[in-house]
Symmetry: C2
Subunit: 334 residues, 2 copies
């Protein structure tokens, strides 16, 4: 893969895999002391409910409230000084925006984030709070990819994509690496799938450590683009899914992430919005933690019995907790 017009850093990897376990381990060293080593929670009630020993990796406690900081920081930290001096760009209305903004600040760089005009004010404020410049666009009339590329080119910024990049994938893989360091061998690892960066990195780390581990991705019922793509053996595009799991509302898998996931992901489980809400309520009332819908989807699949061939010892990535009380009330209510 040649460097793109966005002056992306030269990708790592080998001829057979764009990202290796060594890349994940290097990312872990880079993130040491910068990202949180998030806790792994267990609960007797959860174990009884699922009928397995469940280990919940709490990325809602990660900096910026989601695993996204891992990949964004790892990618930003690999830029050369000249790139950092000019600044970093991203387009995102979600957790990746905050992740890139914070990574830039941590590295003494600057960030420009392209966001839709109608992005939630809380997300804009959080991103601006990390010192990023926010450029808005009208998502009904303007093409964000073209705008992003133009912006990056005009200002000499380096674009950090949300998932389809080897350094981003390697960074996300550190979540599974930490989890498995704590739990030892597991039968299965259950991971939410949006663009596929988290599960790709996690699968690389997990299968390198424990080749027999089963990697189960979780998608919203009507956002099953990765499931369809895996069945078809090529990337499928579906209509933009309507789901409360906004971090997973993508129409097609990433190119690079799919190249990894088609080899390493063993199964995809689907969950309904109602099952996600039930899981959000469960973790609120029993684990005393806050998960956003995408962050709860993997756990929802386990609780709802959607994971076929139930594992005995299972890891789950609770990928993020960015939801305000207003939205939580709308969704989970009384």
């Amino acid at each position: 893969m040649p460097p793109s017009t966005d002056a992306e850093p030269v990708p790592a990897g080998t001829a057979t895999s764009p990202v290796t376990f060594d890349d994940v381990r290097e990312a872990a060293a880079r993130l040491d002391g910068v990202a949180h080593r998030t806790p792994v929670l267990t609960s007797r009630t959860l174990n009884a409910l699922v009928g397995a020993e469940v280990f919940v990796k709490c990325e809602n406690f990660q900096r910026v409230g989601a695993f996204k900081f891992r990949g964004a920081y790892n990618a930003a930290a690999r830029l050369i000084p000249g790139q950092l001096a000019k600044g970093i760009a991203a387009y995102s209305s979600g957790n990746h925006a905050q992740a890139v903004a914070l990574a830039a600040r941590e590295l003494g760089s600057s960030a420009v984030i392209l966001m839709p005009e109608d992005a939630p004010r809380s997300k804009r404020e959080a991103t601006a709070g990390y010192g990023a410049e926010i450029v808005t666009y009208d998502r009904y009339t303007q093409d964000r990819t073209a705008l992003g590329r133009a912006l990056a080119e005009d200002r000499g910024l380096t674009l950090i994509p949300p998932y389809d990049h080897p350094h981003v994938i390697a960074g996300q893989g550190t979540a599974a690496l930490e989890l498995l360091e704590e739990t030892g061998e597991l039968d299965a690892l259950v991971v939410p799938v949006g663009g596929g960066g988290l599960i790709a990195g996690s699968a690389i780390a997990a299968k390198a450590l424990h080749p027999a581990i089963r990697i189960v991705g979780v998608e919203p019922e009507n956002g099953d683009d990765t499931k369809r793509s895996l069945e078809r053996g090529e990337r499928v595009t579906i209509p933009v899914p309507r789901t409360i799991a906004d971090g997973q509302a993508l129409p097609t898998p990433g190119e690079l992430t799919f190249a990894v996931n088609r080899h390493l992901v063993d199964a995809i489980a689907l969950v309904s919005d109602a099952e996600i809400i039930a899981a959000m309520r469960f973790v609120f009332e029993r684990l005393k933690i806050v998960l956003e819908p995408s962050g709860a989807s993997a756990l929802a699949a386990l609780i709802a019995g959607r994971v076929a061939d139930p594992p005995r010892r299972v890891g789950v990535i609770a990928s993020g907790g960015n939801i305000d009380t207003r939205r939580f009330t709308e969704l989970v209510g009384g």
Copy 2:
């Protein structure tokens, strides 16, 4: 203090203090591997808001969802085999009920919990879920203390009170002990005050380790019985306070707890219900954790600037997280 008619275990302590630091350390050994060593969370956002380095001891992650398990288990574990064989009793509609129920189960004993008929169904179910027998009474016509004593006497049960007992106080002190083991010396420790057991035990441990540490209790504005009692130098009784902090809605300090607290508590800060709700929202959105009103009150005092002479490094006990999504929605809403 002679053994009471409830066949309470013989109290520990010395002539000058009913509970010593050694009692707390022994409780810690007893709780090792049984209670959770709960995490201490920090947050840059919280530090910036408070203007201090803040360490939050998350007892919402304790077994039964609150610090109460520490004291209940420590007291139950000190009973003699004959007492455990006959069973344990408690009267409580709150977290102490669940704590005693679980402690009894862990020790192979049984528990009878006296609860008002109109206690929330969720609390009854949780307590019954730990295997306790629940006996209800009409709180408008029946005297719970007399009923509890009669019940204990009839069945030969040992009553474990919620706070006014040396072994309960020693158990609660282990929360502060763990916190300080993790943080090292702090300028102040901010602790919610209900009956006074948590702050009494915490003060004993904290002042033994760091004599200069300031112990600040937090009460709801209109539940300031301990503040008034400390000012008066004797226990004062106020009308049963109306506050959302149900764990702190008590009319008078405990006898034993007040005997400790009058010597070791340096100040009481008061918080309003609105300040508690703001703190519950803050920890939900920024720390991604769930706290019940009483569990958030100490942090609320810090955030609202109610702690006089602000400390530079401060520990806070977030004492519990037992609130369902319905009640959370009613209080914190959108």
